[in-house]
């Protein structure tokens, strides 16, 4: 009976009461409610597009306006010269480095001889003070006796002098073995032969008259000879640019003024309106009068007279042409003066770089000269050019009094480089781990490793960043300073926080993602594949490499792509660890580029968004970067889906 009642009661509970409102029944409403929630994901994606887009979309027009002002105010004109001067400064820096390397290394032997002798003199004068004094006295006496012309006195004095000389020689003989080579020749650059020769030549040393041995004198002369020719070349190189620099500095001030005035002009109407509104509200009469006066002082011009204000730039064009031509002559002359075969390999390499870069620099220089000559303030700024300035611009300079540049390239390069390093490290490790867990490990091992990987996934990124700052950075730098590792490109590293450090930490973050997806992909390969391979006599390794991996390749590719998406969107680690230097890393360093600091797209948003005014161009630029990140992530996801579908094993 009781058993029968259960279902009845239940059935009663479930009785339908079909009330309808506006034609929608209760069930329909419930379904609609859940469906609405499920639509939330689509809605959010659209909202992200809308809100990021809303802030970002006006970036380009405003950016374009700023660039037009940049041209109209003559800043572009001055910047062409600035690039010329900067290009020179880069080469000049190399020359200076080469000079000091040469001074250190090449002239090293001569310099060491001179310095070692200096140290010997100090020791000798210290220990043999009495002997030197005696000898000096004896020589004075001899001098006096000779002046007097008394033969007996001369003979006595000569004898005394000979004794003093012998005493000094004996003392020198006693001192010489006590000289510690490591202390005297602190650079350790003297060969054994040089050292012996130096010690042997000490007999020629006259401590009283402070005359060094011939060998040391020769070294001094050689040092002077060698370095003066290089020194002259270096000075010629450094001063070649000074006329151009002066011209640039003078015009720069003018351009700055023009820009400030033009900006003030743009806001004049708004300021006037604000002052008038303030005057109306002002309670005190004098306050009101002051505001009215100020408002009256503001002149609203229909159009800023750029042509009139920038006339000075047009006038300076011939001067620039002359100065630029002179510069090139001086540059070539200075380049020819640089020593062709300096002794130091480092200086050699630096000078080699200078010579290699010189033709490029020259053509760039001439290009900029042409740009200077062609500049006109009223030529419209091309839209493609202004888009290119953002997407391929090499500078991201903000909060500058001169001109703000919003170039994506350094940030994108940094993000990409860090992500690629992270992937290069993470992919072998996570694929290896996935294969191991899927194919080779014991069941209990499988269980534990999967569990541990879940914990790896749970590590918050800010903790990893903290670890990077506190431990990994220092560890890597110390490692890079180990002597026998100095052949590794980029070692020793200059910075603790750099691309490599961030890449390694991000690799650890990417491992769980790639591992899990790879493992799934391997699991999805039908058992029959591996069994057939094993039955044909293949070994376990052969089966894995030739059957399993090819069969799972689509899943693995998707895993790598999604790992890439995870890494390129990661913020905290790169913000803390990548070094935050906004510049395109110097790829001339080869693989060593990874030891340089960089900035990233995610990092720049995190760092700067909190500090800019909403609605400003800078703000919009940051949202634009966000939009690009969003687009990248959607693209990666979409591609991963496509890959999985395209290559799915039926």
């Amino acid at each position: 009976m009781a058993a029968m009642r259960g279902p009845q009661v239940m059935a009663k509970r479930f009785q339908k009461r079909d009330k309808r409102f506006l034609g929608i029944g209760a069930q329909g409403a419930i379904k609609g409610f859940f469906g609405g929630n499920a639509l939330l994901s689509i809605a959010i994606l659209l909202l992200i597009c809308v809100f990021l887009g809303k802030e970002a979309v006006f970036f380009f027009p405003k950016h374009h306006e700023e660039l037009e002002l940049y041209r109209e105010s003559g800043q572009e004109y001055v910047d062409s010269m600035k690039r010329q001067v900067e290009g020179h400064a880069e080469l000049n820096g190399l020359v200076a480095q080469a000079y000091y390397a040469e001074l250190d290394e090449i002239a090293g032997k001569e310099r060491s001889i001179v310095e070692a002798f200096g140290a010997i003199v100090d020791t000798g004068e210290d220990l043999g003070e009495d002997e030197i004094d005696d000898w000096a006295d004896a020589r004075d006496d001899l001098e006096d006796a000779r002046d007097d012309g008394d033969a007996a006195a001369i003979a006595t004095a000569q004898q005394a002098e000979a004794q003093a000389r012998a005493a000094w020689a004996a003392k020198l003989g006693a001192i010489t073995p006590e000289l510690r080579r490591g202390e005297v020749d602190s650079y350790g650059r003297l060969t054994d032969a040089d050292w012996e020769q130096l010690l042997a030549s000490l007999g020629e040393w006259d401590p009283v008259e402070e005359e060094p041995p011939a060998m040391v004198e020769e070294a001094e002369a050689a040092l002077k000879r060698k370095m003066t020719s290089f020194g002259d070349a270096r000075d010629a190189f450094a001063t070649a640019v000074s006329d151009l620099r002066q011209l640039k500095e003078r015009l720069r001030g003018i351009a700055m003024d023009v820009k400030d005035e033009a900006v003030a002009d743009q806001t004049a109407a708004a300021r006037k309106a604000a002052l008038l509104a303030g005057a109306e509200k002002a309670v005190q009469a004098e306050d009101r009068q002051r505001r009215l006066d100020e408002a009256a002082a503001i002149v609203i011009r229909e159009k800023f007279p750029f042509a009139e204000r920038t006339a000075v730039f047009y006038e300076s064009k011939p001067e620039h042409a002359k100065v630029a031509e002179e510069y090139l002559v001086k540059f070539d002359a200075a380049l020819a003066l640089l020593p062709v075969a300096p002794g130091s390999p480092e200086a050699m390499a630096k000078l080699e770089t200078v010579r290699e870069k010189a033709p490029d620099f020259r053509s760039d220089f001439q290009r900029y000269s042409a740009a200077v000559q062609e500049w006109t303030h009223d030529k419209p700024y091309g839209w493609f050019k202004s888009l290119g300035k953002f997407f391929f611009g090499k500078d991201w300079v903000t909060n500058s009094s001169w001109h703000d540049f919003y170039g994506l390239l350094p940030l994108f390069t940094g993000s990409l480089l860090i992500s690629l390093i992270a992937l290069a490290v993470a992919v072998p490790f996570s694929m290896g781990a996935a294969i191991y867990v899927n194919q080779l490990a014991h069941p209990w091992e499988q269980h534990i490793i999967k569990l541990a990987i879940e914990f790896v996934q749970a590590i918050p990124s800010v903790v990893l960043g903290f670890f990077g700052i506190m431990v990994l950075g220092t560890f890597l730098r110390d490692l890079s300073q180990v002597e026998w590792l100095s052949w590794v490109p980029g070692f020793p590293m200059q910075e603790r926080l750099n691309i490599l450090n961030a890449g390694l930490l991000l690799a650890l973050m990417a491992v769980p993602t790639i591992f899990t997806l790879c493992e799934d992909a391997l699991n999805n390969v039908p058992k029959a594949f591996t069994e057939a391979s094993l039955a044909l006599g293949a070994s376990k390794l052969q089966t894995i490499l030739r059957v399993l991996l090819p069969a799972a390749i689509s899943g693995i590719l998707a895993a790598v792509l999604l790992g890439f998406g995870r890494v390129i969107g990661e913020t905290m680690v790169v913000l803390l660890v990548a070094g935050n230097k906004i510049a395109i890393p110097d790829f001339a360093a080869g693989i060593g580029v990874v030891t340089q600091p960089a900035h990233t797209m995610t990092g720049i948003i995190a760092q700067e968004t909190g500090e800019v005014d909403p609605g400003s161009l800078h703000w919009r630029a940051l949202f634009m970067v966000g939009l690009i990140l969003f687009a990248i992530s959607l693209f990666i996801n979409w591609t991963a889906q496509k890959i999985i579908h395209r290559f799915r094993i039926a």
Binding site: S41, I44, S430, I453, L464, I469, M470, L541, G626, S633
Partner: protein, 385 residues
Amino acid sequence: MSNGSKERNPFRSSSKRRRRNDAGGHALFAFFTYFVLACTAYIFLDIAVKGAPVVFKAEAPFVNLGFIFNNPETLVVFKDGNGEKVRMAMSDFSEFKKANPEAVITDEHTFSYCAGGIWGPLVGTALLVGICMVIALFAGVASAIFLNEYARHGRFMNTIRLAIMNLAGVPSIVFGLFGLGVFCLWPWLPVLTYEPSGNAVATFAIPFTDGFLSFQGWGTSMIAGGCTLAIMVLPVIIAACEESLKAVPMGFREAAMALGATKWQAIRTAVLPYAKPGILTASILGITRVAGETAPIMFTAALAHKAGLPWAEAKGGGLFWVSDFFTQSVQALPYHIYTVSARIPRSEDTEPMQNGSVFVFLLLVMAFAALSISMRARYRKKLKW
């Protein structure tokens, strides 16, 4: 005669070489696996070894309660008359100076946020996670029910799934920007306040009070941060909830429907009760994800320093208090860690705070991770119908 004899077995090689290769491959794959795990273990150990001395102590109650239950403060380091180094929180320091006006103080340095403890950030993180989970669970469970119980396969369904999958791949900093644009700055979000801001797009005086319903946006606030985090964690919650709903056998629903239950009654009485443990697991998994995030709350909710706890700072009464409570900014532990590790120079004076807060944070997140993993394991074992 036939070609067969010429075709070599592609797998043929000498057995000795094969065995050696096999062993090498095995070792290599094992090395890859255990190297990753060893690195992780090293990170945990390093943080534990450096952080544990700050958080624990040898005598009862074994936990450094001051570090847990105090707010962060500015640290003052100076040398006293004997030339000994003294470290003090700013508040203690001003009292000390008042008490000993003649005290010799030389070589004085200050470090922001490096004295006191992490109570404020802990509370803030708990509040953010709480708000986030309430919103995310509501929307996530509802979405999962729709996807698993109501939706039919088709283009619409595929679009939703694609959207969820794409949402999961969006970088967290983009969510931060989105939250900033929507929840902080979009002015059409209402607050209850006594003093409407000048940016309000519409204000309505509420009768019988001197307050207003003002549409002025939420600003940098814990509700904005919570919503941002909720959106971020939504795909994780949906996926986990769907898994637990899928695990309930079809027969349960069919039996309920056969007894005359409507669709919703069947879900409510025959599906949800059995999926509950799974949903709970999903929520803890979500907490693990959300608690560790810094980027989305950097400009939507967090600030580096706040004098009082959120409930002490909120003003007004009744609903006004509630509104004020949720629209204030909070400290958060991950943001605190970011601040002390990125903006404060590293020295022996600042290291206790740096290491201690990271250790506590990692401990908490890992505890939640362990909880969700163990719960899931138990739940899966139980769910053998």
